[in-house]
């Protein structure tokens, strides 16, 4: 068990989230089962009021969860100083069985929470609140995943042993290691870049054709491909080291915390891309999605270009 003040802070907030989430969950189930917009009964009237409490709680959890996620990564970075062998968050994540799942689940939950908020915004815009049942049913599912996340986080921090030697990112994200993450390294650079830019061009294409489902699907693919391309190819230009493949190190001060910007843009871009698939009239979402995805592609490409201009060679 590792109990730094940071870890304790995260655990306390998790406890509060779980407590309030539980309240929202109970209300959600009640609303899901008994909601009837056409009824004028006092029971329905009470449900309407309770739905605003549930929505407020969920908004609260999400708005703290986003900065807390950044703080979580920060904390892992800090713990990496204490763990022998780890040099950045990657080592800490890898130090326990749950680490990788936890990160992936956290990211999925962020997308789901954001999607819920969007659904909620659409719902309360309309007098008939057409999505109310759906959104509270959906929250029941999110709540389940969220509780899994809280438990995983607890287990992960409990499992970190300070005196155990762990791998540093150099060994986890290299082609010679045989961890699961390493298997994606068998992809060739040319194929990878073709996928990356090809996917981006498809997004642009569907933007102009306004094909919402295709736009959403390409965005979903882009999340995965963009991250792989970042780790395998673009990351090396950020570090200016051909062998350094790590998705965490550039979150550190040495790289001007650029990672937060990179991941932030990818999140916003792809999230609004997904939103387009779920809700119809969202020209603004189309635009935001394209803008942030483009910024992501441009920023990463710039790293390569600048490196080439400075050194006259590619890595």
């Amino acid at each position: 068990m590792i109990l730094t003040p940071e870890v304790l802070a995260i655990l306390i907030l998790n406890a509060i989230f779980a407590l309030f989430g539980m309240v929202a969950f109970v209300l959600s189930v009640k609303i899901y089962l008994n909601w009837d917009i056409n009824s004028t009964s006092t029971a329905q009237y009470r449900l309407e009021k309770q739905s605003s409490l549930a929505a407020t709680i969920i908004k609260y959890i999400f708005s703290i969860k986003v900065p807390l996620f950044i703080f979580f990564i920060f904390t892992l970075d800090k713990i990496s100083n204490v763990l022998t062998g780890a040099m950045c968050a990657a080592g800490v994540v890898d130090a326990t069985e749950q680490g990788t799942y936890l990160i992936v689940l956290k990211i999925i939950n962020l997308y789901l929470f954001a999607l819920w908020l969007k659904l909620n915004a659409e719902d309360v815009k309309d007098r008939n609140q057409p999505h109310t049942k759906l959104k509270f049913g959906f929250f029941a599912l999110i709540f389940f995943l969220f509780i899994v996340e809280v438990i995983l986080e607890w287990v992960m921090f409990s499992a970190i042993e300070i005196d155990k030697m762990v791998s540093c990112c150099g060994s986890i994200y290299s082609s010679s290691a045989n961890s699961g993450i390493s298997s994606i390294f068998s992809l060739g650079t040319a194929a990878l870049l073709a996928l990356f830019y090809g996917n981006y061009l498809l997004i642009v294409l569907f933007y102009f054709l306004k094909k919402r489902y295709l736009f959403a699907v390409t965005n979903m693919l882009f999340v995965v491909i963009a991250i792989i391309a970042l780790i395998l190819f673009f990351g090396t230009y950020i570090y200016e080291l051909p062998s350094h493949h790590c998705p965490f190190c550039f979150l550190q001060r040495d790289y001007y915390y650029i990672g937060y910007l990179i991941y932030g843009m990818l999140f916003v871009g792809t999230f609004y891309g997904l939103v387009v698939g779920f809700f119809k009239e969202s020209i603004l979402s189309y635009k935001i999605s394209l803008l942030f995805n483009s910024l992501y592609v441009i920023l990463l490409s710039l790293y390569v270009v600048v490196y080439y201009l400075k050194n006259g060679v590619l890595l």
């Binding site: 917009i37 056409n38 004028t40 009237y45 309407e48 009021k49 605003s52 309360v124 007098r127």
Partner: protein, 223 residues
């Protein structure tokens, strides 16, 4: 038709053994531009009618339609939107916030709209002039006289330029002179084409020229 109450019954449940029927199967129609006076003793149910029209409460049964919206079906948030856009409410006790200035009280309905400063100033100046309280703009409400407070309350009710004005016992706390000047204000509002409903037991209103109809209510039933 501007306002329609169809088969309205309203029952208040004070506690389990004490049920009060405030309105019993009421039907009432009010045309656009009409000035209707609801006459009745206190506790007769006239305030309840006002609160139902304003969607402040919901009928136990029946339906209320204002213009085209079914007010009785609105959820909390949309009921608020409806009031903000359509209803100017003048309360018996004015219900101003004493520690705020005249200006701050009047713009209160506009606050959640997050309008541009200019737009707010425009609306504010219009009602300040209309009800002759420009000179009091920055005074605190608690330092004003009763008549002035009422004019602030009316200005607040009109700041959004609503189609319907509802007044609950407007002259209960005023002397005769001030009551007469309130009637002058009503005239002005009626001239602007607003639909007005006044709930009162003040005989002053019953024989006025500007009043189109007096509806009497007794123990929750229209006479």
């Amino acid at each position: 038709m501007m306002i329609e109450l169809k088969n309205i019954t309203k029952i208040y449940e004070v506690n389990k053994n004490n049920i009060v029927t405030a309105l019993d199967n009421i039907n009432l129609e009010i045309r656009e531009g009409e000035l209707v006076v609801l006459k009745g003793a206190s506790g007769s149910g006239k305030s309840t009618i006002l609160s139902l029209i304003a969607a402040l409460s919901k009928p136990t049964s029946g339906e209320i339609v204002v213009e085209t919206s079914r007010v009785s079906k609105l959820s909390d948030n949309f009921a608020s939107d409806f009031r903000r856009d359509n209803i100017g409410f003048v309360f018996q006790k004015y219900n101003l916030i004493p520690a705020l200035s005249v200006k701050e009280n009047i713009i209160l309905p506009l606050v959640p709209l997050n309008l541009h400063v200019k737009e707010i100033e425009e609306k504010l100046i219009r009602v300040l002039k209309m009800f002759h309280i420009e000179h009091k703009e920055n005074q605190l409400v608690k330092n004003l006289s009763g008549g002035e407070q009422q004019r602030v309350a009316i200005a607040r009710a009109n700041v959004n330029n609503p189609k319907i004005i509802l007044a609950d016992e407007p002259t209960a706390n005023l002397d005769e002179k001030l009551s007469l000047s309130f009637i002058e204000i009503l005239k002005e509002l009626k001239a602007e084409g607003k639909t007005i409903v006044v709930a009162t037991h003040d005989p002053l209103f019953f024989n006025l020229e500007i009043v189109d109809r007096v509806v009497e209510i007794h123990q929750g039933v229209l006479l």
